[in-house]
Symmetry: C2
Subunit: 371 residues, 2 copies
Amino acid sequence: MIGSFHPPQRILMGPGPSDVSPRVLAAMGRPTIGHLDPAFVGMMDEMKTLLQYAFQTKNELVMPVSAPGSAGMETCFVNLVEPGDKVIVCQNGVFGGRMKENVERCGGIAVMVMDDWGNAVDANKVEDTLKANPDAKILAFVHAETSTGAQSDAKILCALAQKYNVLTIVDAVTSLGGTPIKVDEWGIDAIYSGSQKCLSCTPGLSPISFSARAMDVVKSRKTKIQSWFLDLTLVTAYWGNAAKRTYHHTAPINALYGLHEALVMLQEEGLENAWARHQHHHLELKKGLEALGLRFVVKEQDRLPQLNSVYIPDGVDDAAARKSLLEDYGLEIGAGLGAMAGKIWRIGLMGHAANERNVNICLTALEDVMS
Amino acid sequence: MIGSFHPPQRILMGPGPSDVSPRVLAAMGRPTIGHLDPAFVGMMDEMKTLLQYAFQTKNELVMPVSAPGSAGMETCFVNLVEPGDKVIVCQNGVFGGRMKENVERCGGIAVMVMDDWGNAVDANKVEDTLKANPDAKILAFVHAETSTGAQSDAKILCALAQKYNVLTIVDAVTSLGGTPIKVDEWGIDAIYSGSQKCLSCTPGLSPISFSARAMDVVKSRKTKIQSWFLDLTLVTAYWGNAAKRTYHHTAPINALYGLHEALVMLQEEGLENAWARHQHHHLELKKGLEALGLRFVVKEQDRLPQLNSVYIPDGVDDAAARKSLLEDYGLEIGAGLGAMAGKIWRIGLMGHAANERNVNICLTALEDVMS
C-alpha cells in the first residue's frame, strides 16, 4: 500500500518553482467550488484586474492558461501563426529554441537570430533581420532567458517590431513580477508568463495577454487554430466576457485560488517595490558570490536580478555539491540546462524567495559545499 | 485593493468538479518542492503505480497530463492522428463532438457514428462503419458521456476495434473510479480521464495511458506531433523513465500532491468497493428522484451511476431552481449542455460526493425548490 506523500520543507532558489508563501499554500487548500459558481466567476473578474496590473496593460484579453508556461508559449504561437507565416525568432538559450519548435509545428517558417548563450538578444541583428525579411509577420523573443539569466531589452525590441510593422510574442516567464514589464507602454502584442517564478505561486498556470491588434489577427485567420484546448476564440467564451461565462474546459479551481492570492500579495507590495526588492537582494547575493570567487555567466548590464548564473569553479563536483545543498541545507539551486549542463549553477531569487534570509543561507551553504 | 478570496462551502453534485476530500485539500497546501527533487521523483513513481491500479493496466506509459481533461483528449489525438488519417468517431453528446474537432484540427478525417443524445453508442452501427471503412486507423468513443449521463459498452466497442484492427481512443473522464474500466483486459490503446470527477481531486490534471502498440504508432509517425507541450515522445523524458527524469515542462507540483492523495484514497477503499459505492448511492438517489416524479434521460441499462440526468419538470424554472439550491442549500447540480440546455439537470454522485448525506440533502432540497 502506498501512503500519503509528505514533502520535505525546502528553500527553493533554483530557476523555479520558487518559495511559495504560506498564504498561497493556504489558498490552494480552500474548498473547491464549481467553475461556473457565481462566487468563482467573481473571483475570475478580480483575477483579470490583478493580471492587468501585473502586466501593466488595459488589454481585454488577459487570463491564466490552465497549464504551465510551455502551454502559454504554445497558446501564443498556435493562435497567431498560420502555415507559411514567417516568424523571426531570437535565440540566446533554451527557450528561444522552444519557440522555433512551436513555429515549425504550426507550419510557420522560423528565421533565427542567434546570440551566444548568456548574452542578451542583439537588437542590431534583429533590425538587420527585420529589414531583410519584409514579409515577416511576428518577432518572438525571450525577455528573461531562464536557462542563462540574461535579460534582453524588451522595450527596444518591441519598438523595432513596431517600426517594421510586425507583431511581437514575448516570453516573460521568469520576468513577470521580478523586473519591469510594461505591456501597453512597450506595445507588446502577445505575452506569456508562469505562475511559479517571480509571482511565487505553485507551478501549473500561465498568465497571458493579447493586444486588441493581436486578437484581430487571431479572429481573421484563414485556417483553423490547430489546438482546440488553446484556441482563444473558444477559451474567451469562459474568460473573455464577464457578463456571460460559458463552459469551455473545467478550470483548475484550486490552482486559480493560489494564483489569485499570489497576485493579491503582489498588489499589496506594489510592482515597483517588488522590482526593487529583487534588485536589492540580487546585489547582496552578487557581493557574496563574488566574495566566494564565483564568476557570473552574464555581463553585468544584462543580468536578471532574479536568476543568477555562475560558473561552477574548477574542482567542484556539480552533482555532489547540489546534493549536499539539498540534503544538508534543504536548499535547491538550479543545474545548467542543455549546453550549460555541468558548467553553471542557476541561483534564483524569485518572488517570495527574494529575501535576506535566503541570501544568507545560500551564501553560507555554498561556502560550505565548495570547501 | 482586492483582498484574499474565501470561497463558500458547497456540496458539489454537478458533472464535476465533485466534492474534494479534506485530505486532498490538505495535500494541495503542502510545501512546494522542485520538479526534479529526489523526493518528488519518488512521488512520481508512486503516482504511476497508483494510476496503473486505477486504470487496471500494466502499461508503461501512464501519467497525468499537466492540464485538464480536454488537454488529455488532445494528447491522445495529436499523438496518434496524422494528416489524412481516418478516425471513426462515435458521437452521442457534447464530447464526441469535441473528439471530431480534435481529429479535424490534426488534419484527420472524422467518420461519424451518430446516436441520439442520452443513448449509448450503438455497437451495430459501429461495426457497420468499421466494415465500410477498412482504411480507418482509430475508433474513438466516449465511455461515459458527461453531457447526458449515458454509458457505452467500452468492452464490446474495444473488441470490435480489435476485430477490425484499429486503435482505440477512449474518453473515461467521468468513468474512472466510478464504474469499471479495465484497460488491459479490454485492450484499450489510449485513454484519458480527469482529476475532478470520480477521483475527487481538484480539476486541472488529466490521467492518461497508452498501450505499447499505441506508443509504437506514435514513435513511427511520418509527421511531427503538432503540439510541443503534449508531444509524448518529449513528455516521457520526464514521466517515462524512472531512472532518469529530465526537464520537459515544469510539473504542477501541488496539483500532483492532490492527485496522489486522491489515488491513495482510492487504493485504500479498493476499486471494486468504489464502484459498488457509486452504484449503491445511485440506486438510493434514483428511488428518491422517481418519488419526486422526475424522469431519467437515459434508459436504465445505459445509466451512469455517477451522473444522473433527469428532465426538468414542466413549470419549474431551471435557473431559479438551481439558484435556490445554491443559495439556500449550498448545493450545486449541473445544468444541461448544448442541445440539452434548459431541458435537463445533471446530478453527480462522483467520488467523495457519492455518500448518503449528499443523497439526502439533494432530495430534500430538490423537493423544496420544485414545490
